[in-house]
């Protein structure tokens, strides 16, 4: 059964609707909580096992030892594919995915991000190990 102008009513209705598009970048877009954006490194939790370096599909992470139990991480944001496998791999939850996604740069050098090791107070290691242990079982199950 052929009816001419089947879409006319829909087209006329759409004339009076708000645009479906968002005026980005004037309107900020909030990504969902589970979004895998730029990776954050929490140096105090890192134990230097380098499993994240082994699992990274693009070799975008470099973990280096800078002192006694102190590690710094270097991310190549231009190599990273934002799969967040490193976040899943890390046994101590030293890596976290953020919702940050506006990562374009004009200079390539700016895409190298270094998270320096924090100066560690002497009592800290035990407390961190404890907090990591309490938060871990949920992920391991």
């Amino acid at each position: 059964m052929i009816k001419p102008g089947k879409m006319v009513r829909e087209v006329l209705k759409s004339l009076f609707l708000k645009p479906a598009t968002i005026l980005y970048p004037y309107v900020h877009v909030q990504m969902p909580d589970r979004f895998r954006g730029k990776i954050k490194f929490i140096s105090s939790r890192c134990i230097g096992c380098k499993l994240c370096m082994r699992d990274c599909p693009t070799n975008a992470i470099t973990i280096t030892k800078v002192g006694d139990k102190q590690f710094q991480a270097e991310f190549d944001l231009d190599k990273c594919v934002y799969c967040a496998q490193c976040v899943d791999t890390c046994p101590k939850k030293a890596l976290e995915a953020t919702v940050e996604f506006e990562l374009a740069q004009l200079k390539r050098g700016k895409l190298k991000v270094t998270f320096h090791a924090e100066p560690m107070p002497s009592a800290a290691p035990a407390a961190i190990a404890e907090s990591a242990a309490t938060s871990h079982p949920a992920a391991g199950a």
Partner: protein, 408 residues
């Protein structure tokens, strides 16, 4: 009138990906078509052999930008079969939900592209607006709009909460209403019916002979669907109809895809109702035991096939990917015959092609002086016959017998 040959591609405004077609014309009518693949070869299969299984999984997910979940699930199924992993049922349900959502966004995308190719851009705008609903749902469930990264060996990486499942049902209501409208448009709108009917005709016999898969085959009444014929994931627990059509043309392919959208909504509702409680992942080893597996998966474009051979290390020995477009390309040449030159874009678009996913090649480098050559299909065929003859099996004879039987 003498026949003339027109080259279309590799760079051409009507094609979204680099692909070369040589079309023989008599006036406006297409006599035959020849095509050349390989402009977008990325060496993914070889790269998989150089990477650990976890790294290869993310690479395989990037074979295709639209059916990323299809390729990653197909690969993972093969590896899990080799490792003998028992994936928890809840994980299988979550994978199935994501795979059906992916089918929705792919079919809605196709509907828009088809509209665009026939100059019906209103349809493109409407269907892509509705597709955003699916994309946002996928981003909320998995963490990204395109490369979902939901799979991992032995399960899924993220659980779906109760609120998200309820939200999913509401989304299905919205999409179902819109799709009903598209079905009305597709079956009543004059411009669409007149433009698509009889274009790109592929008879049932030709579809079977040329091995058309997915909606391309089903629109020529080839009643085949891996989801029903060889159930994987959670498809054995749910009921659905395999949509087929007897129009055999681009119009039929449109109806099949829109019909499949409606089936997907009903599947999601059943999955949400039946999803079991429990863990979403089991621990998977880094080194997979030696073995081989072939995995089949009904991607939005048709049957996707992955073959994985493991050798006991943490890297695969061989990964072979057969993307659905490769199976459908032969039928495009047949569809082209006796159509007008202006129908070329919509006929190519009607198989929902994904040329980058399809490109595979074999290149031989001679070790002594670096001379390179590629094997033609005939040479490869002759070589395989020779190889088997040395093993004591004569397939040349068998082929002759088979072709005689086919003629009778």
């Amino acid at each position: 009138m003498a026949n003339i040959k027109i080259p279309i591609g590799p760079q051409h405004p009507a094609l979204k990906e680099p692909e070369s077609f040589s079309i023989t014309l008599n006036g406006e009518t297409i006599i035959s078509m020849d095509m050349r693949l390989g402009y977008n070869h990325r060496g993914i299969e070889k790269a998989c052999e150089e990477r650990t299984y976890i790294q290869a999984m993310y690479l395989v997910e990037r074979v295709c930008g639209i059916c990323s979940h299809s390729h990653s699930t197909c690969f993972i199924q093969a590896v899990e079969e080799i490792a003998g992993l028992a994936v928890p049922p809840r994980a299988l349900y979550i994978r199935t939900i994501v795979s059906e959502l992916e089918r929705m966004h792919s079919h809605l995308l196709w509907l828009g592209v088809a509209g665009h190719e026939i100059g019906f851009d209103t349809l493109l705008m409407y269907s892509w607006r509705d597709r955003e609903v699916v994309m946002d749902t996928l981003a909320a469930l998995t963490g990204n709009r395109v490369n979902y990264g939901i799979n991992t060996f032995g399960g899924v990486r993220r659980d779906i909460s109760k609120e998200q499942l309820d939200g999913l049902l509401k989304t299905m209501d919205v999409l179902e209403e819109r799709t009903k409208y598209y079905i009305e448009v597709a079956s009543q709108e004059m411009t669409l019916i007149k433009r698509l009917s009889g274009v790109g005709y592929l008879s049932h016999e030709d579809a079977v002979k040329l091995g058309a898969v997915g909606p391309t085959g089903r629109a020529s009444n080839v009643d085949a669907d891996v989801r029903r014929d060889d159930p994987y994931l959670a498809y054995k627990d749910i009921e659905f109809k395999v949509i087929t059509d007897t129009h055999n043309d681009v119009f039929g392919r449109t109806l099949v895809r829109v019909g499949e959208l409606m089936q997907s909504y009903s599947m999601i509702r059943q999955l949400v109702a039946k999803i079991p409680e429990g863990p979403v992942t089991v621990k998977a080893p880094r080194k997979m035991p030696a073995g081989e597996a072939l995995s089949r998966y009904e991607a939005p474009r048709g049957e996707d096939v992955h073959y994985v051979k493991a050798n006991g290390t943490d890297k695969a020995e061989r990964v072979k990917i057969r993307a659905p477009t490769l199976a459908n390309l032969q039928s495009v040449a047949k569809m082209m015959e006796n159509n007008r030159l202006a129908d070329v874009p919509i006929i190519i678009a009607a198989i929902d092609p994904c040329f980058s996913c399809t490109d595979r090649m074999v290149q031989i480098k001679h070790a002594d002086h670096g001379r390179q050559e590629t094997l033609s299909w005939q040479a490869l065929h002759a070589q395989s016959l020779e190889w088997y003859r040395k093993q004591g099996v004569d397939f040349a004879d068998l082929n002759a017998k088979m072709s005689r039987r086919m003629k009778i």
